[in-house]
């Protein structure tokens, strides 16, 4: 059993970084803040690598099956004997893998930002927020309790909010951060209710307990969850589906993806860390964490996961082909790749060969983290150089930014699924899993794969080839590629993007913990690879040289192109729902009702009293004889009332 203390240090070091930098950064550390944050992060990375090594190679495996270890658990909030929110640490293959991914990518981003964010006014705040995010994400991945994951889920949400809104004086950044937070919050609503449903039926919040109770055939809890239904759908399906909504929100799955492209308003390293490599895959991680429940008790939900993933993958790929903002293209590609991971999970089953999708999904998560972080950091380097996000302002940068160029190319090849880059392996596995389980999804995946290759290379050619770079944008600014702090992370990640594909992932991560043999299926790979190559060639034909071919094609596909360019008008639909329906049809009437009816009643009571008081003043007429009349009427009336009533 590993020592809980140093595992706990992994999230606690970034937390310490957050507290230090957040409280004292502006005053005391100032420009050293970055270094402090990076050093702490480095420690965390080393520890997590050590833990990963220990887990995978020393103590994690018992009888050939990777165990779920819980070295630490503390009852944080006790609701009843069984129900309690615990703060705990879980070690299992996926959490350990995620620990590595998160700390590693975070470290890279920390280093990269040292140069990239230099001179920012709120430099220390930036690092504080980065640390906060890293802490939350690490807390999320090691959660042992479904509520714990929810807690950190919210925390990553808020750190994402803070980082997107880092440039708080830009209205677009403010809007984007709000949007990101609110859309994910909406999704979290589903998550929360899902938790309530599952915890109610399972009687526990602990992951282990919950999974074992809801998957054990014939257990009372499972029976209750399956038999009780709402609107004809069983409770367990509801529960898992609702939880998946939470995951879909964080992972920007259709139709909750609208926040992700806007989130690119944040600093680019943030996009690399949060909106490409780590936080956005939390949804995938969540489904993976509860995978046994999905797979064994709620296959319907898993179907939904599969189709949502597939649709998102395709949709995002289509949109990505039309975007001109390089970060947005990357954002859509992220969405598309996460769609892959999702549908991979969706087509998986629990245990053995059928669990290939699960392994593939995790594998893709891992490789994607590498190459997508790399892509974003490269994009950052490019943006840093040209001071623009628009493709139109770029072109011909391969000479100005040689390292970036190579790194970007590697990443593109990787994402396009060209062997021997990492993306190839993971994507093949996913497609294979889909092929085995669900052909429809396989075809969607395949088409998406081709489009991925196309738009990535569209991006690549537009940035680095296309035309000669003219300096009119940055005539005053010839700082070149930037120092080692910029290039070293790129190089490391590029190496990672190449190497990580060769990891025998099935050995470590599988749906049931036992070893899953994954091989290289050359015959199967021909099709995806060739489609990828075709995509690259088309992109090269269209974008390598400056020409009017792209415009022609886009105008010939006028309707489709426009729709895709406008992201299928999903934003507009949301805007309609929120502005027109929620604000105008619910909020405004509620406010009106409150001011005029509820408040009106109170004022009405007050005014009526005044009016009555004014009306009856005539009784006090000032005529003493009338007083006597009232007197007599009163006396006789009273007597009559008492006698005859």
């Amino acid at each position: 059993m590993p020592n809980a203390i140093y595992i706990a240090l992994i999230p606690l070091l970034p937390l310490a970084g957050f507290l230090l930098l957040g409280l004292f950064g502006r005053r005391i550390f100032k420009n050293n803040s970055g270094v402090i944050g990076t050093l702490l992060m480095m420690c965390a990375t080393i520890i997590s690598l050590y833990v990963a090594y220990g887990y995978f190679f020393e103590y994690g495996k018992v009888n050939g099956v990777y165990q779920k270890l819980i070295p630490f658990k503390y009852a944080w909030l006790v609701f009843s004997k069984d129900l309690s929110i615990d703060m705990g640490i879980t070690l299992d293959p996926i959490s350990v893998m995620m620990l590595v991914v998160v700390t590693f990518i975070s470290l890279m981003v920390h280093v990269f930002s040292l140069a990239y964010m230099k001179g920012e006014e709120r430099f220390s705040t930036f690092y504080a927020f980065l640390s906060l995010f890293t802490f939350s994400m690490l807390g999320l991945v090691i959660s042992s309790n479904i509520f714990q994951i929810y807690i950190f889920w919210e925390l990553v949400g808020v750190s994402s909010f803070l980082l997107i809104g880092y440039y708080y004086d830009r209205p677009s950044a403010v809007a984007a951060s709000k949007k990101a937070f609110i859309v994910t919050r909406f999704a979290d609503l589903g998550f929360l209710i899902g938790i309530l449903v599952l915890s109610f039926y399972s009687g526990t919040l602990d992951f282990n307990e919950l999974i074992s109770r809801l998957t054990a055939p014939g257990s009372d809890q499972l029976k209750a969850a399956v038999t009780s239904s709402f609107m004809g759908i069983s409770a367990i399906t509801w529960g898992t589906f609702l939880i998946f909504i939470g995951g879909a929100g964080k992972s920007a799955m259709f139709p909750l993806h609208v926040w992700l492209p806007d989130a690119m308003e944040g600093p680019t390293p943030v996009s690399a860390l949060i909106h490409a490599a780590t936080m956005v895959v939390a949804g995938v991680y969540l489904v993976a964490r509860l995978f046994p429940v999905f797979a064994m008790a709620a296959p319907d939900s898993l179907q939904i996961v599969a189709y949502v993933g597939a649709v998102s993958a395709l949709l995002a790929a289509v949109i990505a082909c039309t975007q001109t903002d390089i970060k947005r293209v990357l954002a859509y590609s992220t969405m598309s790749q996460i769609g892959y991971m999702m549908f991979a999970l969706g087509v998986a089953k629990y245990g053995g060969e059928n669990g290939l999708g699960y392994t593939a999904s995790m594998f893709h998560l891992f490789t994607h983290a590498m190459f997508k972080a790399l892509l974003f950091l490269c994009a950052g380097a490019v943006i840093h150089f040209v001071h623009s996000n628009e493709m139109a302002d770029m072109g011909g940068l391969r000479k100005k930014l040689p390292v970036t160029h190579i790194a970007f190319l590697i990443a593109c090849l990787s994402i396009a699924g060209i062997p021997p880059f990492s993306g190839f392996f993971s994507k093949e596995e996913i497609l294979l899993a889909a092929w085995q389980q669900n052909r429809t999804i396989y075809w969607i995946g395949l088409i998406t794969s081709g489009m991925t290759a196309f738009y990535m290379f569209r991006l690549y050619f537009s940035i680095f080839w296309n035309r000669d770079f003219n300096d009119h944008h940055s005539a005053h600014n010839h700082h070149g590629e930037g120092g080692g702090l910029i290039t070293i992370p790129l190089i490391i990640l590029a190496i990672g993007s190449i190497v990580s594909g060769f990891i025998p992932f099935g050995n470590f991560v599988s749906s049931d913990g036992s070893r899953l043999a994954t091989g290289f299926h050359a015959s199967f790979s021909i099709m995806p690879v060739s489609i990828g190559v075709i995509g690259i060639l088309i992109a090269g034909w269209l974008y390598k040289k400056q020409s009017d071919k792209p415009d022609k094609i886009s105008s010939s596909l006028n309707g489709l192109y426009k729709t895709a360019y406008h992201k299928f008008y999903i934003d507009e639909i949301y805007l309609f729902i929120t502005k027109k329906i929620l604000f105008n049809l619910v909020g405004r009437p509620a406010a009106w009702f409150d001011r005029n009816v509820v408040d009106g009643l109170v004022n009405f009571t007050g005014n009526t009293t005044q009016v009555i008081s004014e009306k009856i003043k005539g009784i006090q007429s000032g005529k003493v004889q009338q007083y006597a009349i009232y007197f007599l009427i009163g006396a006789i009336g009273l007597a009559a009332l008492i006698i005859y009533w």
Binding site: R26, A75, W76, L77, V78, F79, S80, L83, I85, F147, Y150, I151, F152, E154, L155, V158, F161, G165, Y168, D169, R170, P171, V174, A175, S177, K178, F181, I182, R185, F186, D188, L189, L192, I193, L196, V197, S199, F200, F230, T578, L582, F583, V586, G587, R588, A590, A591, F593, D594, V598, D599, L601, V602, G606
Partner: protein, 493 residues
């Protein structure tokens, strides 16, 4: 620990303030008094936990009882359980913060502090009371200071708001009074106002049916029970900063505490019968308050309406009648008290500088006053139930507790309540986005200064309270849960 000290200190402080020679003296006296009280509250927490860990499981601890009006069987009977301790802590936090943020009050300073401390004395007494008569006494003690605070030091249409507040609260307490009398006269041969005695009696269900609504609505008016909440927006928006803090932080909690301690505990059968109505009203309040908040432009109105929504959670928890839900309700009382006090404090700070509370006129305050803006962020995050802050803990406890009730109606109500966390996020982020974020709209703001020491201290005290609950809720949970258990015992029976 002698609980009377908790009443004596504010009373003496109030008298000392009256004797103060100048404004500055009165400030420091108020601060010293509230600081002592703050310390005493912690001493109480310590003493209470000490007794409990030593195995003293009496329902109420540190009980004191003197016959006050033997003719009516009214006694000065005070004591605390975990719930009361939590509420007293809350009050202590808010009072000291309220005293600190009012440091700049220059108009009739002495009177201002006198009323503040008097109000706090009422609140302390209320939470300590174990006799319905003195409970009512303290409830009403707390009404008039609010009226004067708003009417004299308020802003906007202050007279109207002050009047509305005083009259509605008075109306509430009138209903409470009738309810209390009803209980008194149905308490058997030897009539009693004693809470502990009443808690052992079985009041006939017919009597409960009549008086439970009176009590619940009566206390509900204090805690913004829909549709009796309309004093809240006007009252809060017109009140001076400390007034709003006290109003939302303490005064509204008097009502919810009463709903729990008096209405629900003492009339469990009727509480069960009326639970659906309570739930319905509170679910409406939660959502409706949240949606109404969305449309507000005045920062104080935003927070006031959000208080309606948040206090709906308290009543929802009480109405759900499960141990966890009631625990959550109490936690929400504490949490909302601290959070809303912080919110009003920061709104006050902003208003003092920008002289506007209209969100659309502000923007980019982060640039000129980072400290205040950070507080604003924190208050907002707490309000929208972010983990790490108290609101999350309380709301989640309520949700967990509510979900224990099976039945579609309860489920729908709970889901509706859950939905408000999204709406809350919308309006909080709108407020944050328009005020502290974004570009600076008004160039005059560039000259504004950040928080002063007193404001910082006040904010930090409140934030510490919020975080202490948010990060380590177990102590509050352990404190409150046994109290909720006792209440539940009567309900289950």
């Amino acid at each position: 620990m002698n609980l009377s000290v908790l009443l004596l200190v504010p009373t003496l402080t109030a008298i000392a303030i009256l004797l103060a020679r100048n404004a500055n003296q009165s400030r420091w006296i108020a601060f010293a008094g509230s600081a002592i009280q703050f310390g005493l509250a912690f001493a109480l927490l310590y003493a209470f936990s000490h007794e409990r860990t030593n195995g003293n499981y009496e329902q109420m601890l540190f009980v004191q009882q003197y016959n006050w009006f033997p003719a009516w069987n009214i006694s000065y009977h005070i004591g605390v359980d975990g719930i009361a301790v939590a509420m007293i802590l809350l009050t202590a936090f808010i009072v000291i913060a309220g005293v600190l943020v009012s440091w700049n009050v220059i108009y009739r300073t002495k009177e201002f502090y006198f009323l503040l401390i008097l109000l706090s004395a009422g609140a302390y007494g209320f939470f300590l009371s174990l006799d319905l008569f003195i409970l009512f006494f303290f409830l009403e003690v707390a009404v008039i200071p609010k009226y004067l605070l708003i009417g004299i030091w308020g802003s906007g249409k202050k007279e109207y708001s002050a009047n509305k507040l005083a009259l509605m609260l008075m109306g509430g307490s009138a209903l409470v009074l009738v309810g209390l009398l009803g209980m008194y006269f149905s308490s058997g041969h030897e009539k009693t106002f004693d809470v502990l005695r009443l808690a052992q009696l079985h009041i006939p269900i017919d009597v409960q049916r009549i008086f439970f609504p009176l009590l619940f609505i009566g206390f509900g008016v204090f805690t913004a029970l829909f549709p009796f909440h309309t004093w809240v927006p006007d009252g809060h928006s017109s009140a001076p900063t400390a007034g709003s803090m006290f109003l939302a932080g303490i005064s509204m909690k008097l009502g919810s505490y009463g709903c729990l301690r008096v209405a629900t505990w003492l009339m469990p059968d009727a509480a069960k019968e009326y639970a659906p109505i309570v739930i319905l009203l509170s679910a409406i309040a939660i959502l409706y308050g949240a949606f109404a908040t969305m449309m507000q432009k005045d920062l104080k109105y935003i927070n006031a309406y959000s208080s309606v929504s948040h206090c709906g959670f308290i009543l929802l928890g009480i109405g759900m009648l499960t141990k966890t839900a009631i625990t959550g309700a109490v936690m929400q009382m504490v949490s909302h008290g601290l959070m809303t006090a912080l919110f009003f404090a920061v709104i006050g700070m902003i208003y003092e500088r920008t002289h506007t509370r209209n969100v659309s006129e502000m923007g980019g305050l982060m640039k000129v006053m980072p400290f205040i803006s950070t507080i604003f962020f924190i208050a907002g995050f707490c309000s929208l139930g972010l983990p790490g802050f108290s609101g999350f803990v309380a709301e989640m406890t309520i949700f967990m507790g509510s979900w224990q009730n099976t039945g579609l109606f309860y489920r729908v109500a709970t889901v509706a309540a859950c939905m408000s966390i999204v709406v809350t996020a919308v309006y909080i982020l709108r407020a944050i986005g328009q005020t502290v974020m974004g570009p600076i709209k008004n160039q005059d703001y560039l000259q504004l200064k950040d928080a002063k020491w007193n404001e910082k201290l006040a904010a930090i005290i409140l934030i510490l309270g919020i975080i202490a609950i948010g990060v380590a809720p177990f102590w509050l949970n352990d404190l409150v849960r046994p109290g909720a258990e006792i209440i539940m015992q009567r309900i289950v029976k």
